[in-house]
Amino acid sequence: MSQNKTETKRLLKRFFKSPTSFFGFVLLIFFIVVAILAPTICPPKEGADPFKIPMATWSSAPQAPSADHPFGIIGGRDIFYGVVWGTRAAFKIGLTVSLISALIGVIIGAISAYAGGWIDEIMMRVTDIFMSIPFLVAAMIMTTILGKGLGNVMIALIIFGWMRVARLIRGNILQAKTEQYVMAARALGINDGKIIFKHILPNTIFPVVIQITMRIGSLVITAAALSFLGVGAEPGYADWGTILSYSRNWMTELDKSWFAILYPGTAMILFVLAWNLVGDGLRDTFDPKMK
């Protein structure tokens, strides 16, 4: 047990030694704090859906930042409120989609690798079919079929998001199957399910964890891109992509609505950067080749 502890300590030390992963970690903490404190920073109206940005004015013209609305107003909505609550929306999208799609991927990959034969063949061909449509286009098709709304966006992203994890897990398990500890477990007569979940998965799951962290950023980008194109969250939803999409109405006069690009845009870049840096750091820390 104590050996385990020193190992964790050593890994943590290595993770925080790199200035980039440390910076990423600090950024991430900042976003978590903003997400938790969102109701205190921008209290929603009583009884209203907090994810709906309240109307500040009925005029749709952009209004430059002022004391009351530090990030300005676009489409009648307060950008500061949207950016703060958008942090919550981003965590919701990133974590839900990446975790559920990874879970589906693990299950499919594990069954496929362990069963082998025609089951494996069919499952992998289905995976290929899902992979043959570019992610963004696939997600667009799904959201047009399911309808608008953030929930539907998440479902669309999950449906087309599990394949890479499935392949990764399948490859790792195929490799692990020939390892001695699996053969030993088999010789002891342990059943297949137990071998997969108790012996093989704990030994192969780590690359998946890294994959999940590295994907959260790009998932948030894709969800925002869908909102930006007008097939994602409903207008007025506190989501960075939705605020950015208001700029599409002011394309020829972007200098009058720069704040509607700059503030949600910066929030998004930093959020994605944070996850990418942390994912990168985790990979470097746990990659045996880097030791």
Partner: protein, 319 residues
Amino acid sequence: MIWMLGPERLLATYVKSPEALKTEDAAERLIEKYGLDKPVYVQYFRWLGNLLQGDLGYSNIAKTPVTQAILERLPYTIELALYAIIPVIFGGIWLGVLSGVNHNKPLDHGVRVFSLVGWSMPDFVFGLLVLLLFYTILGWFPPGYLSYASEKIMRSPEFTTYTHFATIDALINLRFDIFVDAIRHLVGPILTLAYLWWAYVLRITRSSMLEVLKKDYIRTARAKGLAEKVVINKHAKRNALIPVVTVTGGMIVTLLAGVVIVETVFNRPGLGRFTATAATQLDYFSILGSAIFYSFILVMVNLVVDVSYAIIDPRIRLS
């Protein structure tokens, strides 16, 4: 969801002018013709059957068959992708090699920060920032495809269209003003695509370069007194580029899908904007048609990548 509407409502998405419904039984005839009263699966297999004959259905937003709509818009997208892919690949490889060779020196750190930011940058945010700076503030590179004046000349009978690529056609017709105009409209989207993808190509090249530089044959090459330039260019770079080729295939496909966003931001009338508009207008045949088209390209590109592997890496050819 649209399939759940009744046949009459579905018909309404097909018919745009009241003229078509003038005669008494026109509505019934049209419903009959398109099989709109049939169950969803019958309609689906009908669509599949048509697909095999190259008929992707009728596009509502383009008011032409989907196949024709895609082919008409394709040149705009290919032109953009071709111009973007050149700086992406060469610039990315150049920066990656530079960064790998100068490992852990200030230059390497600079390149890494540059790529990290690009890697985390959403394409539409960067596109909007480019528009804000270069169009609204500086007025250098406008969005769209061509200025109104150039477009008028291109449509006129004196101007012969050869390739449907504005830049090339302008050069063949010796209209340098149109050529410059077309380039000005291309700079914004190319800059956006290039910066985001540099980050990616650069990362792959850099890590593969670092790995190759540790190999024994590099030490041998240096030990026998070869110039550092020869070692890098002839021995290291060639081997380091193998993983880059793998990702290039996927990149071309993602680039073509990425134009959905970039073309929407820059208002370029290509396939990407067509797909985006189809999605917002719920034009199912157009979306499915574009998706099938994208998948087709993906499969073809993967085939080319597999073949080019053998050309680059003799080990694969021999096994």
